[in-house]
Structures are given as C-alpha cells and as structure tokens.
C-alpha cells in the first residue's frame, strides 16, 4: 500500500497532476497525497469496524446500555470524526489554492497573456503585441503569469495539469488564472470542458523559456511589426 505513492510519484505522463512543474500544481499534489492517506485510513477503519460489528457476539445488551452505546458511537463517529476531518482538510487545503489566484506578486509584476477558446483551438495573444499563437503558448519560467481566459463560442476550459488547476472559458466572461512554471520545459494542456465534436483533440503546448529568452522573443516579435 505504502509502495504505491513511491511508484507513482514522478510518473504518469505529460498530463499528470502528480508530476507538478509549478507551485499551483505542486501544492495540490501534496494535498492529494495527504488526503489520500487520511481517507485510506478512514475507509479501512470503517470497513474493519463494520465487519467486526457484524461478527461479534453482542451478549445480552440491555436497552439502557444500548442507549449509552448509541450516544457514544454517534457523538464520536457521527459528529466529532467528520467535523475534525473537515476542519483539517479546510485548514490545510484552502491555502493550497493561493498560488493560483491572480493576487499581486511579492516582487515584480505578473505577465499577462490572453487565451481565447474556439471550437476547437486555443488562441494565445500577448497584450501590446500582434503575436497570436494557436494551441501554443510561450511563457517565461519562474515568473508568475496571469492568463486571461475567455471564449469566442461555447464554454471551454483552460487546463495545464502539471502547472495548475483549471479555469473555464465562458463567452461574455473573463476569468483570470495564475500559473507558473518552476523550470523551463514543455507542458501540455487540454480543454477540460466538453465543447463539442472535436473536444478530444483540443490541446495546447505551453513552453516555458528562460526569462531572458522569453523577453528576447517578445522583443523580436515587436520589432517584426
């Protein structure tokens, strides 16, 4: 049982949420392993308790004893256990979402990139430039990026699992998702909201460059104009 996490960590292919390449996905991956461990213990414990309760000989239990027993079981198992579990999960879990919120970064400024969903492609554009990329996105590594998401037709969802969670692209609305890649590299993304016939093929590649390289690329495109 314990071997499974070791077996899985660092694998799972180019879309694996368990092989994080940025702070957003990393926090969630840790959260997953924590919750997975906790939930496994609860599940095994409950099933054991259930089987034991079915097998054991209760002896002669008076109604009064049963009443006390009932109150104890329901108080500890029905009230305390779920309340404590839920509080723990919320306390550790909600902060894991902070890296994905477009708050002002501690230093510098977040890079803004617009992505518009179309049936069935992602159109990436860089404010202040004429650059428009299709199913492709260049970002600087180690720098927070605010992705401004919208859609030209139906609802899509922007998701690069190794970098962060997803946000929907809804016509008429603009959602902002903070992503960041720790290191330069290639990260793959997929439309996550069913968007019609070719939904299965609506993918994109996010390429994280060294910041200088990225700046040079952006500058080069500007001079191209």
């Amino acid at each position: 049982m314990l071997g499974i996490p070791l077996l899985l960590s660092g694998c799972g292919g180019p879309f694996s949420t368990l092989d994080p390449g940025g702070p957003g996905a990393a926090g969630i991956a840790w959260l997953w392993w924590g919750m997975f461990g906790y939930a496994s213990v609860v599940l095994v414990g409950l099933v054991w308790l259930w089987l034991h309760a079915m097998r054991r000989d209760p002896g002669n239990i008076s109604d009064k004893q049963a009443q006390t027993l009932q109150n104890r079981w329901i108080f500890w198992g029905g009230l305390v256990l779920p309340s404590v579990s839920v509080s723990l999960i919320l306390a550790f879990g909600l902060p894991a979402g902070y890296p994905m919120l477009p708050t002002p970064p501690e230093e510098g400024e977040a890079v803004r990139i617009n992505v518009e969903g179309h049936q069935w492609r992602f159109e990436t554009s860089y404010p202040g430039t004429d650059i428009v990329l299709e199913n492709h996105m260049l970002i600087p590594a180690g720098v927070p990026i605010d992705v401004y998401l919208t859609s030209a037709d139906v609802i899509h969802s922007f998701w690069v699992p190794r970098l962060s969670g997803k946000q929907d692209m809804v016509p008429g609305h603009t959602n902002v998702l903070r992503i960041m890649a720790d290191e330069p590299g290639r990260f793959r993304g997929h439309c996550a909201e069913f968007c019609g016939l070719d939904h299965a093929h609506m993918k994109l590649v996010v390429e994280a460059l060294e910041p200088q390289e990225f700046d040079a690329w952006l500058e080069e495109s500007r001079t191209d104009e």
């Binding site: 029905g78 909600l94 299965a200």
Partner: protein, 838 residues
C-alpha cells in the same frame, strides 16, 4: 395462494379482489393501483438500466485502447450524453419512485396511494417520455452535449439538430412523473397513515421517502424552468442564455445544478433508507438512534439545497463564495457520518444474520464511503480545480451513485422479492452475481481515479497512445465487462427464482414493519382490514397481525358498498380523521398521457398547431378528470347509509385534495422563485444586460387587472368562509361573478402582453417579462375555469352544504395566483422603476 386465506375469510377477500382489482386484458392499461403502477415503474426502470448499461459498455469498448475508431466522435458524444441521461432520469429516479410507490402504502398500513390516477398518469408520462428520448438514439439524432446540456453548446447555433430538443422536451415530459410522485408521496405519508402511527412511529424508510419526495417538490422546478427557457431560446429565439441578447450561459448552470445537486440526494436518500430498513432486520434489533437518523435525514435535505455551486467551482465565482460553498459541501459529511455510525451501532448490538441482502449492504458501505471520501476531497476548491471534469470525477460520482443507490437497491430487491413472487431468492447464484459486480465495479472505477489524476479529461472519445492512460483504460474496460456479467447473473438469478425459488413463508426475514403483514404474493388492496399501529415495530409486538388483518378484525373491513376506502389521518398524530374514497380503474390517465405525448412530439417536430390542439385535448381530459370527483356518479354519489363517523373525505373541509393542492403550489412557487432568481441573476450578473429606461409594460391596465384579481380572490374567499360557517346562500352566483371578474382580469393581462412594446427575441429583459406575463395568464385562466366549473357543480348538486370540499381545495390556487401577481408586479415593475429613479 397465500397461507392467510382460510375457508372463513375467502369469500370476503374475493369481494375485495373484485373491488380493488385491475380490469382484465387491455383493461390493465386503466389500472391505477399503486402495486401495479409501482411494479411497472420498477420493470420499466430495469429496462432503461439495461439500455444505459449497454451504452456504458460501448464507451468502455471504444476507450479500451488508444486511438480507436470503433465509434465516431459524434456517436460517442451521443452515447455518453444518453448514458448519463438514461441512468439519471429514466432509471435512478423513476425506479426509486416506483419502489416508494409500491412500498409506502404497505408500510404505513393503508391500501393505496392517495391520488391513484395521478400515479398512473405519472407512469405514462415516464414511459412515453422515455421512449421519445431513447428513440432519438436509434434515429442517430440523440442529444450530444452532455447530460447537463451546458449552453451555448446545446443552443441552436452550436447544436442545430433536434438532439437538444429531444432532451429538453423529453425530460420535461418525464419530469411530470417525478413531480406527480413527489406530491403524491408527501400527501400519502402525511395523511393516510394507520390509526395511531404518529410521525415518530413511522418506519424509518418513510422518513427517507418523505424527505426525498419533498426534495423532488422543491428540487425539480428549477430544471423544469431551465428546460422551458432553453427550449424557448432554441425554438423561438428568446435569448435567456445568450450573451449578445443580454442573457448569460451561467444562468443555465445555476438552474441546472439548483436541481442537480439535490437530485444526488434524491437518489441517495432512498438508498440509505433501504440500508436503514434492512440492517435492523438482519441484526434482529431495532435501529439504534432512530431520532438521530431522522435528524440526519432532515439536515441532509436542507444542506443539499445549498451546495449546487460546487459543480461550478471553475466557472469564475467570487472567492468568498467559493469558500462558503466549499465548507457547506463538506458539512454533508456530518449527517452521513451520523447514519453510518447508527448503522454500525445497530450491527454492534445485534446478532447479525449474513444473508444475501446483507452482502449487498456491505458492498454499499465500502463503495459509498469511498465515494463520500473523494467527495469531501472534491469539495475542496483547489483540488477540484485540478481534477474537475477529469476521470477522477467520473470515478467519484460512480462510487457515490452506484454505491449509494444501485447496491442498496439490489439489496432491497432481494429483500422484497418474496413480497412480489412469494418465493425466496437463491443464495448461490446471488453471491456469484454480487462478487462479479463488486469486483468488476471496483476494477473499473478505483483505477479510474488515477486515470483522472494522470490528466485524462472526461468526455473524450479517444486519446493519444503513450500518455500514461493506456493500461488504466484497458483495466477499466475489463472491469466494466466483469461488472456487466455480474449484472447478467443477477438478472438470471431473479428470473430463475420466479420459477424455482422455494416458497416463502409469511414474514420470511422476521421483519418488524407492516409491509410483511400483507398476503404473499401481495393483493391489490394490501390489507383486508386496517389495524391500529401505535408502535414502530408492529410485527414484533403482534406476530398474529397478518392473520387478524386478513380475517377482517380491524377497521374498514366492510366491502359491500363497493368503494375503495382508506383512512385519512392526522399529519402528526396519525389519528383517524376521515374515510378517503379513492377512484377506481380509469382510462383518463392514459388519455391524458397520450395527449401530452402528442404535445411533446409536435413541439419536437415544430408543428405548433398540432401542439395547441393536443394541449387543448389534454386540458379537456384533465378537466373531465376533475369533474369525476366527489359526489359524481362515477365517484361517490351521496347515499342514505354512508358513514359519518368518521365521514367520507369529500364531505369535509380538509382532505387529501387540499394537501395535494398546497404541496403542488409549493412546487409551483419554486418554479416561480426560479424565474425570479433568473431575473435578478441576469439583472445583476449578465455581462450585456440591457433594460429600457422606462418599463415597457403599460401600468394602468396592469394595475387594473391586479385590482380585479384581488377583488375576485376576496369574493371567493368570503364565499368559502361563509360555506365554512354553514351558509351556502348565493354561492353559485358568487362563483359565476368571480369567474367573470377572473375573465376580465385575464383579458386585461392579455391586452398588456399584446400591446406592450416587448422584443422578446432581441432582449433577455423582454423575454423574461414575456414569460412572466404568460405564467400569470395561465394561472388567472386556470383559476377562472376551475371556479366556473365549481359554479356548475353547485348547480348539479356536487357542491353543497353537505359537500363543501371542492371550493376549499380551490382556495389555495386563487391565493397563489394573487400572490404571484403582486410579487411579480413588485419584482418586475416596481423594483426596476425604483432602481431607475435612484
């Protein structure tokens, strides 16, 4: 032949059979009896389950290997949409309704549900609607935008064919049956329990079904409204969900999940009810913590209406709201925990007999708890952002729904089988079926969590090789087929048992509740006499009850009058208040169902004049239906020797009809509240909402029509008050006057609608106003027609001092019509005016 029939009671029981039995041959279609209708729901549900299962197997075949093209993208999209739709709307909900309709009267010690013809109508709407929806699959034009029909994908621009229309119209048609069952179960549980069965003495299953039925009453109207609006957008171009016209696609998601989340609990609660019923029987000990469990049921019901946004965590919701809904979603763990530990405590203190149904209950525990735990994980917003719309969610929801509903349902089937067949299920084949299904299920879906974590989105018809998803999908597919074999074995087992099962003795599991006091196999009237039940465990305390019931030792054992009589009792204490006479076999439900089917089909084919004709015919049938009530010769004409203590319900001021009317108006009010929600939502949140500076509705005629309406209700109310005081003078004239005023009110309102400069196809603002006005018109018209009919009935003598029932039943409709008018006036006219002047 049941062992309860003896030489002494046989003749009388055969008379009961004649009064309560269905008509022979084709006459079966006129059956209204809850046992017949309930079993039809269950049988039809099983057929749709198998259809949904075949669709699942097609999907698993396609996904078993990467880059396969056994199914085209289009076919796959139709199939996954229909799999969800069929399983949710045509299997899970109807089969649970059917089970509840079958069991509830037997458990509360009565002979039928309180509105038998409505049961039958519900069944026909379900059957016809289900056939319409599934026929789209055969024609290869099935809906293909997912079972939650997100717009704009489902709109006429992006889904131009008839697929979405099949879904919207067909599902709305089927939902008539859910609403019917909801209203009927609420009223039956509250008003027809055995004498002395107070709420706290009800079998726990009845609490679960009461909660489920109330949740249907409040949970389904948002979906019904949403479907109507989306169909209006598709067919008539009213832009409720279109950004360019001032609508918002997110409104659809809110309306859908306002229904969709309670629905999960509508499905789970009856499942949990089966668990809470079976565990004490097999532990041979009363349920530990009955009151706690009741409390847990009520809390679950309330919380489930406050969680819908957790299906929408990624659509761009303010962060504070996200945190709120995250916490609220997790709170459900508490009532669920209470129930699980009450079950464990019951097992702990009992001596458990490990029969086949208990094996399924054990399977339920493992699977449902696992699904519940991943549910808590998903309620955590950051984690949801990562795995939302992946196979992780697919796995989670199958764990919850299959664990929470299918496993208890099969446990319940095995448990109640002897009831229907008079025979016991086999143990051997049944255990094979269980283990195949259990292992197959977990092989399919446990591994699927990982597929999701490895980043595979849901609803993709194929995937690239080498992404780490290949072996996972292969394992899931193999598991899926193992489970399918398990289901086949179970069906085989059940079919064989009808022939080879050993004969069941009376109360074969030594249960405590009344449904085991009936003859086995069950008769149409359940109980030949109606006992007092002042206890939660009638059969433990009086094991001879089945025989004394059959021998006619208890109430209403007379049948010479030929009426279908049951007791009506106080909602809280269960004390007898009246004798409710129920309608007998009737063709009206089938006729109404067929007419509604014509309406549905002609809307689908856009032949609107046929739809209008069909609607008129349906209304005619329904009015005729309401005509055959009370003292009508086809119902219960006044006779000299009719019972007076307690009296027949149509001779009183408060009967099931009044309760049915009030519960229906609660459902109706939820529909209206959903419309108000839509109005305020679009007003405050729609990106391109436009409202004219001056309200488009002419104020003078609008207020005039409201004043007339108020006057009509006032007059009607006074007439009813005088009736209650024992005076019937001028009543017929007053009713005619009220109907006349109502007519003028409707005419004025119609004039407002036609004369106002509304552009419902250009502006969402005007479209909402149009729908609101039509809604008011329908209610004004309905109240007016019903009052005119009352005036006619006074004339014939169906309404009189001795028969004061119907005007009282009609009163809540008038009050409701008045309420929605002025509320609508405030929300749609006054508020925007005040806003504009600020």
């Amino acid at each position: 032949m049941s062992e309860l029939r003896t030489a002494e009671n046989r003749e009388r029981l055969e008379k009961f059979d004649r009064v309560w039995g269905n008509l022979p041959g084709w006459g079966q279609l006129a059956a209204v009896n809850h046992t017949s209708v309930g079993l039809r729901f269950v049988a039809t549900g099983i057929v749709f389950f198998l259809i949904g299962g075949v669709l699942a197997m097609l999907m698993r075949t396609q996904l078993a290997l990467p880059e396969q093209d056994i199914l085209s993208a289009n076919a796959y999209n139709q199939i996954f949409t229909m799999h969800g739709t069929v399983m949710m709307f045509l299997f899970a909900i109807p089969i649970l309704e059917g089970l509840a309709m079958y069991l509830i009267p037997k458990m509360i010690g009565t002979r039928d549900l309180v509105f038998p013809r409505i049961s039958a109508l519900g069944y026909y709407c379900y059957l016809f609607g289900g056939i319409i929806i599934t026929s789209s699959l055969i024609l290869n034009i099935a809906p293909a935008s997912g079972w939650f029909m997100y717009t704009p994908l489902s709109s006429s621009t992006f889904s131009p064919g008839m697929g979405s229309d099949f879904w919207l119209l067909g599902i709305t048609f089927v939902e008539i049956s859910a609403m019917a069952a909801g209203v009927e179960l609420v009223v039956s549980i509250l008003r027809t329990r055995a004498n002395g069965m107070s709420l706290s003495k009800m079998p726990i299953f009845c609490w679960y079904i009461l909660a489920m039925a109330l949740m249907i009453v409040f949970g389904f109207p948002p979906l019904i409204l949403g479907s109507i609006l989306l169909e209006l957008e598709r067919a008539a171009g009213m832009p409720f969900f279109e950004v360019a016209g001032g609508g918002d696609p997110l409104l659809w998601q809110h309306l859908f999940w306002l229904f969709g989340h309670p629905e999960v609990y509508i499905i789970f609660l009856p499942g949990a009810g089966i668990v809470s019923t079976l565990i004490p029987v097999f532990a041979q000990r009363p349920l530990v913590g009955y009151r706690w469990v009741v409390l847990a049921i009520i809390i679950t019901g309330f919380i489930s209406f406050g969680l819908w946004v957790h299906h929408m965590f990624t659509v761009g919701i303010p962060h504070l709201a996200l945190a709120f809904f995250s916490v609220a979603s997790m709170l459900v763990a508490i009532p669920t925990g209470i129930q699980i530990f009450a079950w464990i405590a019951t097992l702990w203190t009992g001596r458990v007999i490990f029969h086949l149904p208990m094996l399924w209950i054990f399977g339920f525990l493992v699977i449902f708890v696992a699904g519940g735990l991943t549910g808590v994980m998903l309620a955590l917003v950051p984690f949801d952002w990562q795995v939302h719309d992946t196979h992780f969610v697919v796995a989670h929801m199958h764990y919850v729904l299959v664990g929470g509903m299918l496993f208890p349902l099969i446990a319940g089937f095995y448990y109640w089988l002897p009831h229907v067949s008079g025979r016991m299920p086999s143990d051997k084949l049944g255990r094979w079926g269980f283990w195949l299904a259990f292992i197959g299920f977990n092989t399919t879906f446990l591994i699927m969590h990982l597929t999701g974590l490895f980043g595979m989105p849901r609803r993709v018809y194929t995937y690239e090789a080498g992404l780490g998803w290949d072996w996972l999908n292969m394992v899931s597919s193999i598991g899926g087929f193992v489970m399918a074999i398990g289901i086949a074995v179970i069906i085989l087992d059940v079919v064989l048992h009808f022939r080879f099962g050993r004969k069941a003795k009376q109360n074969p599991w030594n249960a405590d509740s009344l449904e085991w006091a009936v003859e086995m196999p069950v008769s149409a009237y359940n109980f030949a006499s109606l006992p007092d039940v002042p206890t939660r465990h009638p059969l433990y305390e009086n094991p001879d009850l089945p025989q004394s019931i059959a021998d006619g030792k208890h109430g209403l054992s007379e049948i010479g009058h030929g009426r279908r009589d049951i007791y009506g009792s106080d909602a809280v204490t269960g004390k007898i208040q009246e004798i409710i006479h129920l309608p007998s076999n009737s063709w009206l439900p089938l006729q109404a169902g067929l007419m509604l089917c014509v309406v549905c089909l002609s809307l689908l084919l856009k032949v609107y004049w046929v739809a209008l004709v069909g609607l008129a015919a349906a209304v005619f049938v329904l009015l005729r239906w309401s005509w055959h009530n009370g003292a009508h010769p086809r119902a219960t004409p006044v006779t000299a020797d009719e019972p007076t203590d307690p009296p027949l319900h149509s001779r009183t001021f408060s009967g099931p009809g009044l309760w049915g009317m009030v519960v229906s108006m609660m459902a109706n009010g939820t529909l209206y509240a959903s419309l108000l929600f839509g109005w305020f939502y679009l007003w405050t949140a729609s990106p391109q909402w436009q409202a004219p500076a001056d309200g488009p509705l002419p104020l003078t005629p609008l207020i005039g029509s409201g004043v007339l309406l108020s006057l009509a209700v006032l007059l009607y109310g006074r007439a009813v008050a005088r009736l209650r005081q024992g005076s019937i003078r001028h009543m017929q004239k007053v009713f005619w006057l009220v109907a006349a005023i109502g007519l003028v009110h409707v005419a004025l309102l119609l004039w407002v609608l036609l004369s106002a400069p509304l552009n419902p196809t250009l502006q969402a603002h005007d479209a909402v106003l149009t729908v609101m006005l039509i809604y008011l018109l329908i209610h004004g018209g309905l109240s007016t027609i019903a009052t005119a009919m009352q005036a006619m009935r006074v004339n014939i003598g169906y309404v009189s001092l001795q028969l004061p029932y119907e005007p009282v039943v009609l009163m809540p409709l008038w009050v409701y019509t008045l309420g929605i008018f002025w509320l609508g006036f405030a929300a749609f006219v006054l508020l925007p005016m005040g806003w504009g002047s600020l």
